[in-house]
Amino acid sequence: MKNAIKNISNNKRITAFIASCLLSGTVLAKDDCTDPVTDWQPKEQLRQIMEDKGWDVKRIKVDDGCYEIKGLDRNGHKVEAKFSPASLRVIELEIKFNGSGDTSDYLDLGIQYSPEESGAKMNSKNKAAKHKAKAIID
């Protein structure tokens, strides 16, 4: 078991290293979540939390830098939710009620996990415009 944890942590480090190589000196276009990869919590932890709340988790994927869950809630309503991968806080929630909806079920989807304030080191975005371009929309 210890070895397994060690392997996971090594894999995480390798992933983080590859990501940092790819990102070094560059800035990606804006994502919905910008948590550093090193602070991400495992998908399985999120699955467990939501299953404990009675959700039937069909799928967890990474989209725009966030975890995205598709599934059914405990009342059988179709749900789609985005979570910050470091804090596992819900940041977007879409529910399709089957005629018998009650929003109170969703108002306690607050903080499930707070890992020592995630290290509080967000990606520093050192943008260096090639042409010093500026834009306005009106």
């Binding site: 990606l28 276009a29 090639k130 042409h131 929309i137």
Partner: protein
């Protein structure tokens, strides 16, 4: 002392010559009124044969959709280094995007073209929504787009 003067002269001459190689260019893109989400736009430079040279601006913040700006995507290879620091929000129906930037004089009156690709979620992608030669003569003259772009104008 004589050396110092010569060095200073050379330095100022090179500084002046660098300044004269770039020009302030304003690109104005007015969108049509359509029903749909904000448009993703790629404004870029090609040579006369249509071969990609440089990105000038990308409107739209999610890089996962950039592949829909097909002409630009093929030319730029979607490399982040091509659009770092020169991207911003998508442009909604009927709005006008104004981009100001410094552009090397070598691109003007030498056969290079400005192009705009556009795309809107769940609607068609427009490669070459605008194609216009970059010339002193064409400056300030609005060109009609083929897709979501109503008019495109560049001025120096």
């Amino acid at each position: 002392m004589k050396h110092l003067v010569i060095i200073l002269c050379l330095f100022s001459a090179s500084a002046l010559s660098t300044q004269s190689f770039a020009r302030e260019v304003v690109l104005t893109t007015e969108l049509q009124s359509y029903s749909g989400n904000g448009a993703y736009l790629a404004i870029y430079l090609t040579n006369a044969k249509g071969q990609y040279q440089d990105t000038l601006w990308i409107a739209g913040q999610k890089s996962k959709y950039y592949k829909h700006l097909t002409g630009w995507a093929r030319g730029s290879g979607l490399r982040t280094s091509e659009y770092d620091g020169i991207s911003g929000a998508s442009v909604t129906s009927g709005k006008t995007l104004t981009v100001s930037l410094e552009l090397a004089d070598t691109y003007i009156d030498t056969g290079f073209q400005l192009r705009v690709d556009s795309s809107v979620e769940d609607m068609r992608d427009n490669r070459n929504d605008v194609v216009v030669p970059l010339t002193s003569e064409g400056a300030g003259k609005p060109v009609n787009g083929n897709g979501y772009v109503k008019t495109f104008t560049y001025s120096f």
